[in-house]
Symmetry: C2
Subunit: 492 residues, 2 copies
């Protein structure tokens, strides 16, 4: 009975899902609810649960269950899922379990030190741990049997894309961006009124936004954290977070749109994936494409604000003297800066390229941890013309390395590119998309994404998804054209 064999795989993955959802809840709780001293040793608990899930996944038993499945007995979708899981098994299995556990334990140790180092602007206390993490990561990468250690790591987050391809893309982006930013960056002479934007009103606006774009609060929550994120703590429980600042409402608005983009993807995946997702290898770039699509392509488009700006003005009457055109300019301001997560839509990719180049050198032993701060500062000066005052604004700014996420950053850039390329198909299927946005009607856009991306997008690689939706390979020209087109309309 081959169908039973598939059911056995599913039952086994269900138990891994229990652990993974639990780990996500631990992480969410630590960031959202922890009393001042309550987080003590919680990273240890988290890393234990993650390790249990990992060990269960790479077990020989699971390998046997996978082998026993007769693929011809499965439906086409099941076959795709099966192949994805099997490939993922092969990759994860190549990581020696003791190495994985050591990585988990080291990141548990490294995270609080990174927090302290960033707070105290002290790279020296973090660097020994970073060295340990780099060494461990290299060792893991060497087990993955790719032709290049850094490519192997990249492919954990971005299956099927070669390092060469990503480097080619980033060269094209650099060639376009560096001179283009230089020309356009000085054309933004408007700014938001410097008033207090009461957090209560910001929350009101954010909640209206979420309702309109159909983020389902019956199967999700919105909470406040220092570093916004999205997580999935149960099959029907997708949680996003945001932060509010009284002196400007934009970071909360675009932060929420970003996380809601991730959230919509997770909330609208096919129910078949609820208990399989923990075995699936997916493209983080495709996931980031969803968040950056809602944050930037939709959320920073003039059309979107045709509908929402009057609502915002009602909540903050001081905005009534600021025109829609000026507001749209403000939210699209191009301004080279130091901090990635605060970067504008255009300069953002340069922040990623900086990290991509540094990570590649670090993992492929062309750069040491000691040299990092200097190389960071020199490179950001070269690409963006800005210089960090200290390492907290420079090499210490991102959490990723303290968590062992080397090779993750490029997914953010790829997300931008995927989004712009997908936009072309969306517009061709919904020619009146912009008019709909102007009226605050999102249902057709939601349906299009549900069908084309959300439902089964997690089981495809980025290239597969692009090919299916657009018929083409990944091409940065779509993003470049999108930027040129958008800013020609906004600026002039």
């Amino acid at each position: 009975m081959t169908i039973n064999d598939w059911n056995k795989v599913k039952s086994y993955l269900k138990e891994i899902s229990y652990l993974e959802y639990t780990a996500s809840l631990l992480d969410w709780d630590l960031k959202v609810n922890s009393p001042e001293e309550g987080g003590w040793k919680k990273e240890e608990i988290y890393s234990y649960i993650k390790t249990q899930a990992f060990n269960k996944f790479i077990s020989d038993r699971f390998g046997e269950l996978l082998e026993a499945v007769d693929i011809s007995s499965l439906s086409p979708i099941e076959q795709k899922i099966y192949k994805n899981i099997k490939e993922n098994y092969k990759i994860q299995k190549a990581i020696p379990a003791p190495l994985y556990e050591r990585l988990q334990k080291t990141t548990a140790k490294a995270y609080p030190i990174w927090v302290q180092a960033k707070k105290e602007n002290n790279f020296a206390i973090f660097s020994p741990l970073l060295e340990e993490l780099v060494t461990l990561t290299k060792e893991i990468a060497s087990n993955l049997n790719g032709k290049d250690n850094y490519e192997s790591l990249l492919n954990l987050y971005e299956p099927e894309l070669s390092l060469e391809c990503i480097k080619n893309i980033s060269e094209k982006i650099k060639d376009f961006l560096i001179p283009w930013i230089e020309i356009h960056k000085n054309n933004f002479h408007v700014k938001l009124p410097e008033i207090t934007y009461p957090i209560e009103s910001q929350e009101k606006f954010v909640n209206q936004l979420l309702e309109k774009i159909n983020f389902n609060k019956k199967q999700g929550r919105v909470d406040v954290t220092i570093h916004p994120f999205t997580t999935v703590v149960g099959p029907k429980d997708v949680r996003i977070t945001t932060k509010y600042t009284e002196n400007e409402p934009l970071s909360a608005i675009f932060g929420v749109l970003h996380e809601a983009g991730h959230g919509l993807f997770e909330q609208n995946k096919d129910a078949e994936l609820y208990w399989l997702i923990s075995g699936i290898r997916y493209s983080y770039g495709v996931h980031e494409a969803q968040s950056r699509f809602w944050e930037n392509i939709i959320g920073r488009s003039p059309y979107f604000w045709d509908y929402f700006y009057p609502i915002l003005q009602d909540l903050f009457p001081e905005l009534k003297s600021l025109s829609l055109k000026s507001f749209v300019k403000i939210i699209n301001k191009i301004e080279p800066s130091l901090i990635r997560i605060e970067a504008d839509e255009v300069t953002y990719n340069l922040h990623i390229i900086l990290r991509l180049e540094i990570e590649e050198k670090l993992i492929n032993s062309k750069l040491t941890v000691k040299e990092l701060p200097e190389v960071w500062n020199n490179t950001i000066k070269k690409y963006l013309g800005v210089t960090p005052k200290n390492d907290s604004e420079g090499v210490l700014q991102d959490v990723h390395w303290s968590q062992g996420y080397f090779g993750y950053f490029p997914s953010y850039m790829l997300g931008n590119l995927y989004g712009a390329q997908i936009l072309k198909s969306l517009k061709s299927d919904l020619p009146d998309m912009e008019q709909k946005l102007s009226k605050g009607i999102f249902s057709e856009i939601n349906s299009w994404f549900n069908e084309k991306v959300y439902r089964w997008g997690l089981i495809e690689t980025g290239p597969q998804l692009l090919k299916r939706i657009t018929g083409e390979e990944l091409n940065p020209i779509y993003w470049i054209e999108y930027i040129k087109d958008k800013f020609s309309k906004i600026l002039y």
Copy 2:
């Protein structure tokens, strides 16, 4: 190196603690944070984690680790801990793992049905599951090798106390209470002003209370739920919950004092127990004694309100026309009623005795699930003179059975008795305790409990703890005398 053998036991228990803290967090989150539909399948996740913890605990491997310890190499406290864990291992090991797993799965199924049954006042939909649970519980009890199935269950929560002893006690309590209540119940003719008590002011008061009695919010939280509870989700993370109602502030105040009593115990246990507690068998009665001590013996004493009543009056100025004496009468009102969790300090024990008698018959096959509602209604009529209008007010009111907790209820009564007996020692060590309460000074009381109860109380059985603190066996006369004395002062 025998010390290493003990360290091995500790490391092993640490992993079980990871799972147990995680399970507690899952449960807390489900009750505090769950979006409307977000709880879907969460019980399954919870029961999986609990089962993992259980299987790990009863494993042969852990048995071997325990056997390897040379007890003579341990300190006296370590020896006590070791003996406790070993005894617990023996008991839990006697429960066949498949039975435990089945119980977990059945309670995961039963809980939502119980919620529905209670809501819809429909015992019929719950009774098949209850029957399943009773059957399973009997099977588990029969594996525990006690001389009586119900005693075996009782001893899971209340080690070392015999059923006979508890039955003797409950007879004495009944003999005292039933006539005593009849005489005194009609002597409460005052009531709270029927006004709105703004929740914000209630919260303010509750927070002052918690600060004063030294509940540590840096290592804990207070949240809102329908059914208040206390849980420990990390070594330094003890969470209590409460509920507020606008039309009266007492349920929040005494609810918080109750849970804070549990919380203080957990927050002040010795740090050595952080990772050992999951292996320790403790007396739920001693735990309940802490909560009921703060709720009733301290919280409902006139002295306590010498200090707090003026603060409460400032928050609710309408209370200024109500005297302290009247207020103390109100919070101590004796009024036979249907719902245990709303019962007053005096009638409460009769609610427990009712459940004790019913549970014993149910487990020892002298009563069927079908007969339950009728027997319930007849007994509560006999003991308290009240009749449920429906099963939601009767046999369906408590969550315990849906969770498989048969034999747990008596711990509540024992908690009352332990508390009153402990009070005698406390008063003899702190003769000016009542004056301190009148001044809102809690530090000496806190210190006394820290030393005598909290620090190591979890590793002792109820009788051991009583013997150590009071030099005596459990004797209900202390509670009876406490009640007589208290009400003679309050009422006349």
